[in-house]
Subunit: 322 residues, 2 copies
């Protein structure tokens, strides 16, 4: 008897790109397509793009073997109503019934979930979280976000907005965050803020100090500073760069201690672009977390790197179906 | 047909007293006994006291109508194993199989839960939380603790230790907390810390300033300062006292914003001794919380006073049975 290989389609809707993949039951991506998202053009254009990528994938694989379509979307996602609300970086986007729009073109079941939650689900099923029943998934990239996995399932919160760990404040008098609060961990270590802090630190160096390699790498144009540049400089022995990254890890550890105390969780899976940071950043994070979390919880603390990288969105979205 | 009135026994185990009540299905306390707890004498003495209060209540009511015994205990409680681990203020108490010890004297079912969780359950079923599906219960007293109610049920966390909101740090460089972390909200507004801060503030007043009513109330002995004294002074128009209390409310609002962002909860029920604070403390708390929480969550914010006071422990413990 020939066994048919069923699959699901996973869509990772982002502000810069839409990634759509054909994913099998084991979380393996069999095929995929990526398009630049027309986030500035408003919902109809973006929905059209999503439909295009889905139809493209269905055209290349046997639709009869497709079990459904899962979508991970930014912003607040109402899972039951299939709504995507106010995703950041998407123009003219209030509350959009995205699931309904996709159902118009197909009889397949369509599932929707927040993008951070989808990545957390992927890591829980097929990635770095597979060995843990409960963990906090952290996305450290342009912002800081997260997803809470309890008993192998995502904790969505009553209104679908749980896991906003980027907006845990570590200093009530700290720097102003985009969200309006002060001292949010995102306002220290989110990509833009981290780059800005680096600029400030470089500006405050004495004029006769040896110039940082960061300045060399950006050819004096401090606007070009990003976490990758800082990492590169640190790798080549630049002390300022290393200190900035270690400090970021330390600060993230502070925020994690508060969150883990409230949730009674011991394991953190680090995803997002900056999670590829050098091991000493992880060491700083772990030392800080371990010294700050409640004593009975210390021994069991684990911080591990996510395994699925940029594919977590597609894989997690597809696994909403399975 | 005569309807028998069934009841459950609820035990509120505390460091200073053991309160044991006969509670009906509607959360009404029909009878109760309070004894000073021999917390310094070690587990056997305390267990003996608990047994005494239970037997005393069973002697005064029809045992056949008793559905079971619930116990709320401090420290980390392993609900499934019936263990009470390291309760603060209890001497020689490591991990004690409390449920098992009580089962030795009775065939009634025995349930165990953390004391803050038990009070949260009571407020959820019969108190200020009865109208809400999801809320954060905060105990503001000698320390700061809490319980998380989701879908009308307590969220215990994977290891039974969830809801430690007293150890959410609002300043990573802040004052040292008992737990070893810095800037925990408990280290600002817990009874002992709040009294200490008040002393420090009074010491730092210029010598020619009009003396605070607080000093008058404690007859110059600043060691006697406690939140009740501060409240009384504030009530009589003492500006320093009022500022201290408002500031405490404001700081608690900061911690709550972080917690509510992570959990996606909008309602806070305030319990514990200091929760009887004047309305302006609540106003300060709410203003602070509302200005700091993520914008989409602001409109729905509610902070309400707990309704069951000191009886929440007994009622909640009894309702573990029902």
């Amino acid at each position: 008897m020939k066994r048919t290989k069923t699959f699901a389609i996973g869509v990772d809707l982002g502000g810069t790109s839409i990634k759509t993949g054909v994913v099998d039951k084991k979380g393996k991506i069999l095929d995929q397509i990526t398009v630049d998202s027309k986030a500035s053009k408003g919902p109809p254009a973006v929905i059209q793009q999503i439909i295009f990528t889905i139809q493209h994938m269905l055209g290349r694989h046997k639709e009869a073997e497709c079990k459904g379509i899962g979508i991970g979307a930014p912003g607040v996602v109402s899972v039951e109503e299939g709504l995507v609300k106010h995703p950041p970086n998407f123009a003219k986007w209030g509350e959009v019934p995205l699931a309904k729009a996709i159902r118009k073109i197909t009889d397949l079941p369509v599932f929707l979930e927040n993008d951070a939650n989808v990545a957390a689900i992927a890591e829980a099923k097929f990635g770095a979280g597979a060995d843990y029943k409960h963990f906090l998934f952290v996305i450290w990239g342009s912002g800081v976000g997260g997803g809470i996995i309890l008993d192998k399932k995502i904790y969505q919160g009553p209104y679908g907005g749980a896991g906003e760990i980027g907006h845990v404040s570590i200093d009530y008098n700290g720097p102003l965050c985009n969200c309006g609060n002060r001292g949010c961990i995102e306002a220290y270590i989110g990509q833009r803020y981290l780059s800005q802090r680096t600029k400030d630190i470089l500006h405050s160096q004495p004029h006769n100090a040896k110039p940082s390699k960061i300045i060399e790498f950006v050819e004096g144009n401090l606007k070009k500073i990003d976490p990758y540049i800082i990492s590169m400089a640190a790798e080549q022995g630049d002390h300022i760069a290393r200190e900035i990254l270690e400090d970021a890890g330390k600060l993230l550890g502070c925020a994690l201690a508060s969150v883990l105390n409230v949730l009674d969780i011991r394991v953190v899976v680090m995803g997002g672009g900056i999670s590829a940071a050098p091991q000493y950043v992880y060491a700083a994070m772990e030392t800080s977390l371990r010294s700050r979390i409640l004593k009975p919880n210390r021994a069991a603390i684990r911080i591990v790197r996510a395994k699925l990288g940029n594919s977590a969105g597609m894989i997690g979205a597809a696994s909403l179906v399975m």
